[in-house]
């Protein structure tokens, strides 16, 4: 399982938009369209800033009244799922301004 201090980012190759409260995400290579439920959409929004697993779980505890341990486990499992689909990454995306 991913450690709580691990930072997670959206994969920069991913196309996505939150439409009427629902995240619509396209996988980079095969163009598969995914939609995320309310909690998944909130996590997706948070990933724009590269939070840690613990930080995401903390937000979910506050906003969705989930117990802390359960939140950390669920977030880690969900992030694993996003990593498998290559729509999230553990590598900080290179900023174009870094060039």
């Amino acid at each position: 399982m991913l450690p709580p201090d691990k930072e997670v980012f959206r994969d920069p190759r991913t196309a996505s938009r939150v439409i009427a409260g629902e995240a619509v995400v396209l996988t980079p290579r095969d163009g598969r369209i995914l939609t995320l439920n309310e909690t998944g959409t909130r996590i997706w929004e948070l990933l724009a800033d590269g939070p840690t697993i613990a930080e995401i779980a903390s937000v979910l505890v506050q906003e969705f009244e989930i117990e802390a341990d359960r939140a950390r486990q669920d977030v880690a499992a969900f992030i694993d799922h996003l990593l498998c689909r290559e729509i999230a990454t553990l590598e900080r995306p290179r900023d174009d301004d870094d060039e």
Partner: protein, 359 residues
């Protein structure tokens, strides 16, 4: 998490997303015409090329992409003219990627290089659509007016396919090419490309009509439809209850889709070219929310179309509101092109008669 594979074909998941977007007038789909210039001179093309130096700058385009993203646009088409004539095409595409668009490139394929294909692969372009106007080089080149353009388009497609980029060859059926449909389809299949085609010939922006010798003949169209139907049986389209039909939104232009032309004018679609605002002067969101023209477009329901709303051919019809207006002057009238095609298909299927077909 639910998912759906493939392009913008109407999968159930995408249909649901589109319904949500339609309910809230989210511009899910947008096209940016990066230039109206082109290196080909296709006889049927509706674009009137201009080299007036008034094209959107890279900064303009970045700002417009920012605003489209904020408004909820996800599917973006980079089009033209020939968009690859812009020297800053790759920075534009890179910015579209950075802003999270699923972007598609419309091109004639002649300017595709190995380096461009590599860059597009890195940018995860969703699809590249290449116009191919004949199954034979001489047919394509006669329509484009440029010798060798067929060979260059095929070469461009091959360079993209070699990078595993999804390529869609597409054509508009005209008198010189409609009989080459089997050739075009097999060419695409053998290359590993997708293929799509359409019948709509759109008059040029300067109101010059489509040349008469490009219009398909009745016998050509009949033979083409018969071939497409493959001798049947042809599935009967799903019936739509009358009480639901009246509320159907007949066109998403200005509701879930829009076009930005090369000068920054916001248009409902590529055919409805009356600008509803100038994105160099105003913000997308202001125009999108307050334009009276867009509000009028969004108010139209199938029940408002006096002839079409009761037509038995409704479920077989691919009517375009923009073409209907060009043909008749009204957004609410039937489109002769669509009526002819729908009636032909229905007659060939021998399932329907067209007692109320108005044309």
């Amino acid at each position: 998490m639910s998912d759906s594979h493939g392009d913008e074909a109407p999968t159930p998941l995408l249909a649901r997303i589109r319904r949500k977007a339609a309910q809230q007038c989210v511009p899910l789909h947008a096209m940016i015409e990066l230039t109206h210039r082109c290196n080909l001179s296709c006889r049927h093309c509706y674009v009137v090329p201009k080299s007036d130096g008034n094209e959107l700058s890279l900064d303009d385009i970045r700002r417009i992409l920012d605003q489209l993203a904020d408004a909820g646009c996800l599917f973006l088409i980079l089009s033209g003219g020939e968009p690859l004539l812009r020297e800053d095409f790759l920075p534009i595409a890179a910015y579209a990627r950075q802003k999270g668009f699923a972007f598609v490139l419309f091109t004639n394929g002649t300017r595709v290089t190995a380096d461009l294909a590599a860059a597009l692969f890195d940018l995860c372009v969703r699809r590249v659509e290449i116009s191919l106007l004949g199954g034979k080089p001489e047919t394509h080149d006669a329509i484009t007016g440029v010798a060798g353009s067929f060979r260059e388009a095929i070469k461009g497609a091959e360079l993209l396919l070699a990078r595993s980029i999804a390529v869609q060859l597409k054509t508009t059926w005209m008198r010189p090419n409609i009989e080459e449909a089997p050739l075009l389809e097999s060419l695409a299949r053998e290359m590993g490309a997708q293929f799509r085609s359409g019948h709509a010939l759109v008059p040029r922006w300067d109101n010059r009509p489509v040349p008469a010798d490009l219009q398909v003949t009745r016998s050509q169209l009949t033979a083409h439809v018969r071939r497409q139907l493959g001798g049947g049986p042809y599935p009967e389209p799903a019936a739509v209850p009358k009480e639901r039909r009246k509320d159907i939104i007949p066109c998403g232009a200005g509701r879930t889709s829009c076009v930005v032309d090369a000068h920054g004018r916001l248009l409902p679609c590529v055919v409805l070219r009356t600008p509803v605002g100038d994105l160099r002067k105003g913000s997308f969101q202001d125009i999108w929310q307050s334009s009276p023209e867009l509000k009028h477009l969004r108010s139209i329901r199938l029940a408002d179309l006096p002839d079409c709303s009761g037509c038995n051919l409704f479920t077989r019809c691919s009517r375009c509101a923009g073409i209907a207006r060009l043909e008749t002057g009204s957004l609410l009238n039937p489109s002769r092109q669509a009526c002819n095609l729908a009636r032909l298909v229905a007659n060939e299927c021998m399932q329907w008669v067209a007692p109320r077909c108005p044309v």
